[in-house]
Assembly symmetry: C2
Homo-oligomer: 524 residues x 2
């Protein structure tokens, strides 16, 4: 069954409720609610699951139960956004009724689970209903709902993640600092693609093109190193900091769906990320002494189906753009094997890859902790590959951008999901202008050309343990908000950019609290 | 003799060569070249030296030889700027001569010691001489000359400074991080007012109103703390980091020559600085554990005559806005005493002040190291008070702003002198906008209203030990330059803002090298 036919069948079955096409990317496709038993596809729809006819894509090392729970989670979160457009259309249809405001609130409450701003409804009789303002309100409110439900939503899968803080500690890493590209397609990286439990020791700082700021990274490293040396990290004495850079590419559309920052030039994407990692290591060694450098790992993500290229460090911790294992290949090679045989095969392939081009022979193999991590990451990712096979037809139907909003500042760690938002890690727009510009360009296609504003959430963390920290974070948020608005005056003038602010406490007294909703600063 | 009469006498004697009044602040007053023996002034021209008739203002604890050397240094450095306007006028007078370019270059070389840009001279016959461009060129070139002569210029006094790194280490401090106000009148603070040897362990980060960035300071603290813990600071095991905040006021013109950021409200200036120090201490303690906080000191500078209010910490290291010693008072009280008696008196006054208002009795006295530092600072400052008495008529004739240019980014530590430049410490204009705005406002009065551009030097340090560091510093400089230019478009459009960039290596391979003068990046 080819993709077109399958979609037609799904539509006929009623499981497919959308009716949109992929170009209407601000609307959302409802995935079928059953778990289809996929068979090998002669048409090559999924490169990982290209196996013998009649064979099922069910890998012995895949945690099918976890996949089901993650899929339920994904549907729950996406469900909070999916109905927004339809609900607003229904509300629009009754805007000339005499009891309009009341009916609108009832519709919103029933379908979306929250109220709409009363004054927008009350004023509708004067100059019509402000659909733009309502749409933006709903995007942020649905996101806020998801944040507020984080614990309940994530409980079913959080403890089942393959790569736990304990496992990372056993590999020798007290902190994992991950820089993916800011691209929304990478925003599910930690829980979905890596199967890593999001927690306070996993830093996520996305930059366009994965081009992280070396000096800013040195500061984060120094902070953790100081905590480690002063006993603030239990068991940290013998552990290291791990920096992971994640570039991306599209195996099916390498020339137009790769990394926009690198103009979809995959070679440039991988070599730039590798160079930045080298710079970070050298900068720390030259500043704090030989041996101080963090461990680094270079990973490539195929955004078509979430498989990975894991680049293998050598004994010195150096990564190489051309020495890697490809998890899609590993999946294909081991899908018919027992768990034990598959594990052995993966280990063998990893060890072979270390000697690729004879390059590592002189340099030695990576250390045992890194090898454990690489093997675990490769194995964990097999589950994600099968997740995409079973729940997204083997390749995401929306290959490109489909984000709901832009998040600028520090990423909230509460909701991490593919194409939920475009995330630009920044302290100032002056430094993060390139990242913001890419985001605005994406949303010009996604929203502005449909007449919808670009929703921008400026989010920062503070520490409730440090007096004044919340005030300073709020000041920072206000400064960044003003800078964003002044960078895109044409959009602001046309009401096509709506910027809001939210703060979170690192110690969880507040989670992504929208500033204008917060009780006055007293008490913080 | 009152000030007016004294000025008239100086003019008549030919020692005063300016002919400007203080409002023509872009031009420069030549100080008399002799060292006058000042006597007690009945008219109270100098509050420190208000002693019996016939008595000389020569304090036993003052290093008169050091004062002479510092005065020579001041004249040398100011001399590089003083002749600019006259030289340019002389050049202007010959601009219609046939051998103009040649004569102009000879005049510049003879009087200023450097050449002018040839193309500006060659093009003069077409559209007249671009005096603005020449003036800005000279300001930067004279500064660059001063930087290049730093070692020779400072050699006579550098080893004679009262407060050396060794003394600071003996007091228990491995690093001193000083935040004065960005105001140019505070830019001679370290070598002149504090008599502290400028060196790599003395950080100078000026902010408008002394309102330093707590998070940025935490980063600097963490950097040094990490170096200390990893053995990078010899003898650092038992030493601490010292943060000094320096607010300022004008005793003679408290309502209009105080701190512009605090609207000349001295109470607000001191309380804000104290609060910021508290925030820094608490932020570090709550983040890195009890006992981690740096030592802090709060100091007020009377910009009329460079005397200090040194606020005394208690046993917990807390400073108090209202518990201080005033060095102008100490000078007056001890000017007639022997060195030994003066020292004993100062120590007694410091110890009495610790019990001011009975406040400290419950809190205990400051520790021995801090007490040593406070005594040394008070004593060192007596020399600066007498320096102003002898070399600046007891009170600066230009009480207000008189800076040559704005320095934005990181301060060069090569030239530190009162009113040489306005300095805004910043990483981004977005964060430092308030500091830049104050600077631009000052130079609107100093330069723009006379038709002269505001010269802005964007300066950053890099580390030649860290590959890529210079390139990144250059990128940062370019970004900040662009942000400054885009913040003041009206000035840029009228050619009234000239921004240049310079980089320095922390390890001295380059010192304030103007980027367009540098050999191409190759080799770094």
């Amino acid at each position: 069954m080819n993709t077109q036919k399958r979609m037609a069948a799904l539509r006929a079955s009623g499981a497919y409720l959308g009716g949109q096409d992929a170009s209407q990317a601000h609307q959302h496709i409802m995935r079928p609610a059953f778990r289809p038993a996929f068979h090998a596809q002669a048409d090559g729809g999924n490169p990982a699951c290209n196996i013998g006819a009649g064979q099922r894509c069910e890998h012995a090392l895949v945690d099918a139960e976890l996949n089901q729970r993650l899929y339920d989670y994904e549907r729950t979160v996406r469900g909070r956004f999916r109905g927004i457009v339809d609900t607003l259309k229904a509300i629009s249809a009754v805007q000339h009724e005499s009891d309009f405001a009341e009916r609108a609130q009832r519709l919103a409450q029933d379908r979306l689970g929250y109220a709409l701003p009363q004054e927008l409804l009350d004023d509708a009789w004067v100059s019509g209903l402000d659909m733009r303002a309502l749409h933006t309100h709903c995007i942020f409110q649905s996101f806020k709902n998801s944040v507020d439900h984080t614990d309940a939503d994530q409980a079913p899968w959080l403890d089942r993640m393959a790569i736990t803080p304990e496992f990372l500690a056993a590999c020798g890493y007290h902190t994992v600092d991950i820089t993916p590209c800011a691209d929304g397609r990478l925003q599910g990286l930690v829980p979905f693609v890596f199967r890593m439990a999001p927690n306070r020791n996993v830093y996520l700082k996305a930059y366009a093109g994965a081009m992280f700021d070396v000096e800013a990274d040195m500061i984060d490293w120094a902070h953790r190193e100081l905590e480690r040396l002063t006993g603030g990290i239990p068991g940290g004495e013998s552990q290291n900091y791990l920096k992971i850079a994640v570039y991306h590419f599209s195996s099916s559309h390498s020339h137009d769906q790769g990394c926009a920052f690198h103009a979809s030039n995959d070679k440039q994407a991988v070599e730039s990320a590798k160079q930045r990692l080298d710079e970070l290591r050298v900068a720390i060694e030259r500043t704090y002494g030989v041996g101080a450098a963090p461990a680094v790992l270079l990973v490539g993500l195929d955004t078509d189906h979430d498989s990975l290229r894991i680049h293998l460090p050598d004994a010195d911790g150096d990564v190489n753009p051309y020495r890697y294992v490809d998890t899609a290949e590993l999946y294909r090679e081991t899908v018919a094997l027992s768990a034990q045989a598959a594990r052995a095969h993966i280990a063998q392939r990893v060890d072979e890859a270390q000697h690729m081009d004879g390059w590592a022979q002189g340099r030695g193999n990576m250390d045992a902790g890194m090898r454990s991590l690489v093997l675990a990451l490769a194995e964990a990712n097999l589950s994600q590959i099968e997740f995409v096979i079973h729940h997204h037809q083997g390749r995401y139907s929306v290959l490109g951008h489909d984000e709901e909003f832009i998040c600028a500042g520090e990423a909230t760690h509460y909701v991490q999901m593919r194409n939920k938002y475009y995330f630009a890690h920044l302290d100032t727009v002056e430094e993060g202008a390139a990242d913001m510009d890419v985001g605005i360009k994406i949303f010009t296609g996604l929203n502005v050309r449909h007449g919808l504003p670009v929703p921008v959430l400026v989010h920062f963390y503070y520490s409730s343990r440090v007096p004044g920290s919340r005030d300073r974070a709020l000041k920072r948020a206000k400064r960044v908000k003003a800078a964003i608005e002044s960078r895109y005056p044409a959009l602001v003038a046309r009401n096509l950019l709506t910027c809001r602010m939210a703060l979170s406490d690192r110690f969880d007294t507040e989670r992504c609290v929208f500033v204008d909703e917060a009780v006055a600063d007293a008490g913080h």
